[in-house]
Amino acid sequence: MSEARNYLTEDNSIRSWLLTTDHKRVAILYFIAITVFFFIGGAAAALIRLELLTPQGDLVTSDTYNRLFSMHGIIMVWFFLIPSIPSTLGNFIVPLMIGARDLAFPRLNLTSWYLFIAGGLTTLYAIFVGGVDTGWTFYTPFSTIYSNSHVVLAVTGVFIAGFSSILTGLNFIVTIHRLRAPGLTWYRLPLFLWSLYATSVILVLATPVLAITLLLVALDRAFGIGIFDPSRGGDPLLFQHLFWFYSHPAVYIMILPGMGVVSELIACYSRKAIFGYKFVAWSAIAIAGVGFFVWGHHMFVSGQSAFAGLVFSFMSFIVAVPSAIKVFNWTATMHKGWISYDAPMLYALGFIGLFTVGGLSGLFLACLAYDVYVTDTYFVVAHFHYIMVGGMVTAYFGGLHYWWPKITGRLYPEYWARAAAILIFFGFNMTFFPQFILGVLGMPRRYHTYPPEFQIWHVMSSTGASILAVAYALPLFYLGWSLFFGQRASANPWQTTGLEWQTPSPPPTHNFETPPEVKRKPYDFTTKGKARAQNA
């Protein structure tokens, strides 16, 4: 309503932004960075889908194609998906949601952004001078011995960015344990925080293993220490064990924050408390925990022992259970709720549907025998894109729209946002559902040529991708527009619960005029759907 002093207007010099320790500004810095990376990774995807329009490899050489999908994977995984919700929405919202003035270690927070940028620039430079052709998975001994691409540069970039992840996770864990407002017990925490806590545990315990693994790859390549070299007694599978010990929990780093956002959205737009709050809260912890026991399902055909395969397959079935619990509880929450179909809710609903499809396809892959058939085919590609794009990116957009008024003090144009959400859903399914079919038909992943009988599905997929590209560009325009011309937002435009809505939009630098004291459970709506603030 007014141009009051808030975290945005207080000192607008470049220096104040680059040396900020305000978690809200750090979140904005991250947001700008990951948006840039999203479009770079998306550009690679566009070229990939263009190439795949025809069965022949006529747009790019096979070598270039290898570099394209490697770049797409590396950028999207480490420079978009992993930091996305935690470093943007998490950084902004966590202190507000727990009633604190900032995170536990504000300077560490800024440091993590600089590390992210350093890692990102290193990786972009690696791409600029030719990229890598190893895939984002850097399997040995190809990456350590035979590849003629910039492996050391690329892994260095990821290595540096990894420390950014670790510091973010460290900050969140300590903050959530120690900086909660008076009265905010664990079972009064919004579920977004339970999810981010679980995410942070994975960030802190898994990422260091990636760090040492990439360091060994770089050393092996630079000095020939031979640790993954079979001709010197090394085992290439050791790399895969080390790599996937991190990279499987990493996918939970990517999806758990999205699940946290969805909990917030479903509660708000059903005007109802989340059904089975404790189950949803502990299921996040369960996913984080059990997620460390399943990595071998990426290695069923690699040569690991049959017994190990058995153990990993069994655990992979188990890990699906807590995810399913969340889906059931979200659905139960909506039952007899006061549903509104604002854009964030459309994204949340999209998430539930698409994540369920992706998750179910994961069960097929957890099955040892079936995985032998579809491994390294487009079935796997479709599976993880349903989860990562259909799930995670959708949730990110949902959270972005939901908290947009709080972050910017402006309302986004609702009809444009709904249109974009629907277009995304439509474009996404058109892009990726044909890929399930392609996988079952036998189309291998990472190939840029294919038999002509597959073309119909690839054309469908690429067409969907072009729709998706437009749909993803739309928010860039209308959200950007809203920054200057959007209606100004009140403190609580969604009329929902949660401490972050009890302070102006945008918040002042110190977050709260008076430190809040929590008296209620979260998502406290009356039977008529009226919200009761947590500190009221």
Partner: protein, 102 residues
């Protein structure tokens, strides 16, 4: 030394114990005990580590949360070691035979 500059007893005793354990582990390493050598060496290392953690790092006086954080890294390391070694212990052809025919 004045009272406030005297090293605390618990620290001195721990230091002496650590050096003694160091001497013991080196001495025992030279005794032919077969696989027990490794077990003993790792046990003594764990003992030394416990002394450093409990006394020097003051874990003895910390709350359960700090203890959980301190233990978490080792617990997760244990998971990694256990599950990966499960693969290698049940593989029929590890280590690889490098000199086929020789």
């Amino acid at each position: 030394m004045t009272g406030t500059r005297r090293p605390p007893r618990r620290l001195v005793l721990s230091w002496i114990a650590l050096l003694a354990l160091l001497g013991a582990t080196v001495f025992i390493a030279y005794l032919p005990l077969g696989t027990a050598n490794t077990v003993i060496a790792m046990t003594i290392a764990a003992l030394k580590g416990t002394i450093v953690a409990a006394v020097f790092m003051e874990l003895r006086e910390r709350n359960p949360l700090t203890l959980t954080f301190a233990g978490a890294g080792f617990f997760w390391l244990g998971i990694m070691l256990w599950l990966v070694l499960t693969d290698y212990m049940t593989r029929p052809n590890f280590p690889p035979h490098l000199h086929w025919g020789s």
